[in-house]
């Protein structure tokens, strides 16, 4: 029974690992192939099945004038927009979540839960519904096709995630902890910063991770709200496509674009496995 259990456990781990890793390996090998090796039947192993070359990668950094697509600038644009929007969303979202968790708001029939739901309802709507208002809004304040405009829109999209996660998290932190901090001589801001926040780091990390993921992978709004001045990575990658699908440079760009998320995932995993999440509050 026990042996069967161990066997099944490792069996599924191996199957799942193959399932997860295979696409990456496939993309990695493909990125070093040329037209011949991609279209001339299935090939797997470099130098044996095909002759690797760096053309796929070079296209990504060559200027358009030389027939490349230069993703360096969009890459940093994407990093900048995602990080800034996530950071602001986390700060604003955490503050609103704390208020929603600790204070009672009432405006007619609107109460705390309704406000929390209002935030998350922004994410329930299909993005297409929001696209026209966003477009008109940004154009009226002259922020279309700009990094600032994108940051504003992304904050609207990401902050609900932060609020939603953090309200739930703060509700689990006993109020008595805040009260004790007040009694021990903290004013309400100090109580929040010195006591509640340090005990909410796991929640902040989870919220931050979701914000970064959703910000980084967004194609739709980046596509609609920018034209020529500013471009984000997902839009640029799609622009790679032409009459002949360049699988090699698409693979290379896919790997480059997924890299930050993998780094984030490793950092988060490190942090959460330290045991900070469990038993924080007894």
């Amino acid at each position: 029974m026990n042996k069967l259990y161990i066997f099944l456990k490792y069996f599924f781990i191996v199957v799942w690992t193959v399932f997860v890793v295979a696409p990456f390996l496939w993309a990695l090998t493909t990125s070093f192939k040329d037209f011949q090796s991609v279209n001339g039947g299935v090939t797997y192993i470099p130098w044996v099945d095909f002759e690797p070359n760096l053309e796929g990668w070079k296209v990504l950094i060559k200027s358009p004038a030389k027939g490349g697509v230069d993703i360096i600038e969009p890459y940093f644009n994407s990093l900048f927009v995602t990080c800034t929007a996530s950071l602001i969303s986390i700060i604003l979202g955490t503050l609103s979540a704390y208020a929603l968790s600790r204070y009672t708001f009432k405006a007619g029939f609107v109460k705390n839960n309704d406000i929390t739901f209002f935030f998350i309802s922004q994410r329930i709507m299909p993005p297409i519904v929001l696209s026209i208002p966003f477009f008109l809004f940004l154009s009226s304040i002259n922020l279309l096709d700009s990094l600032t405009g994108l940051i504003v829109v992304y904050i609207v999209l990401l902050m609900p995630i932060a609020v939603w996660i953090m309200v739930d998290f703060f509700n689990k932190v006993p109020r008595e902890i805040d009260e004790t901090a007040l009694i021990d001589g903290c004013n309400p801001y100090q109580a929040f910063l010195k006591v509640v926040l340090p005990n909410s780091i796991p929640g902040l990390i989870v919220a931050g991770m979701f914000c970064i993921i959703f910000g980084w992978i967004d194609f739709f709004f980046a596509f609609i709200l920018t034209f020529t001045e500013v471009q984000l990575l997902p839009v640029k990658i799609v622009a790679l496509n032409s009459s002949v699908t360049p699988w090699w440079s698409l693979s290379a760009s896919a790997l480059v674009s997924v890299a930050p998320l993998i780094i984030v995932a490793f950092i988060v995993e490190r942090y959460l496995s330290k045991g900070n999440l469990s038993g924080a509050i007894k």
Binding site: P174, E176, I177, E179, T180, A181, L182, I183, D184, G185, C186, N187, Q190, V195, P198, N199, G279, A280, I281, K282
Partner: protein
Amino acid sequence: MDLVANNLSYKPDDQYHLNEVSFNFKEGNLYTILGRTLSGKTTLLKTIAGLLTPDSGEIKFDGKNFLKIPVWERNVAMVYQQFINYPHLNVFENIAFPLKQRKIDQSIIKEKVMDALKSVGLLGYENRKIQELSGGQQQRVSLARSLVKNAKILLLDEPLVNLDYKLREQLREEFKNLFSKGLADETILIYSTTDPRETMELNGEVIVLDEGKVLQVGPAKEIFENPNSLKVAEISNDPPMNIIEAKILDNHIRFEGIDVEAPQHLSKLTEDGLKIGLRSSDIELGENGHEFEVELAEISGSETLLHLKRGDTKIIVSIEEVLNFKIHDKVKINFKIDRAYAFHADGKLASSPFGGLNG
């Protein structure tokens, strides 16, 4: 520096949490707030701490309006019934937290924290994480944190209730020692509890609270000997005092076909609707006693609690030994009737064996 409250009321929903509560706490004294759960004890302590603002009434400390001062400037300390500490800090940092907040010199902080750790018996634990401690140790940490501040008002909200029996006994003993020698003369100590035994052992001034209302104020002995009403008698006894509807006629107490001679302090009471109160410990098993039927027998610690019934009268008897009874067994009991209380129909004390309101 006295802490004086006048007519504090707090009614957040349709029930009073505090109802016209007034008190006058003098420095250097221990006050015990005795009341059942939801009687408003925590609300009262939180109001004193400043975490709640009463709807009406005033609190004055040292002659100043206390309600105008925010919590963080009140210099009070509070220990909760849940073991509340800062989970992100270790034991030393937890206790040092209120001192750091006052920007006190590092070396003085260290000295004071070590003193506090010593007085709660946790020396050597300063680098432990809070989560690694047992419940009793966690509660000691929060006690140390409240002691280290040298607060003028120290609030303890049922600090022992979430501990197991043995730890509770042990900590209670330590608390008593701490209170009697370890506290500065100007500290006002306010301790809330549901446990009458704890109240008697702490032996301070007792405030009996029920449904947000102060029922009686007095020294523990006085509350125990002369509860001014049925409610107080119930709250200040565990198990609650037995209440028997009886008639006193011709110097005899009669109920359920039982007829006992009335003791002197009850002999003059003849009114209708009189209620006789008798502690469960003032009833004993006896060969030629009155017959009752066992409804339930529970063994708690080294004593047996018998729930008995005769006609419509139900009583609880506590016996200082472990005995086995079956349900529906018949037992014979005698009343130590000279220890009986009498209450008027409206619940007010009519006569007590200790001389309260004789006659």
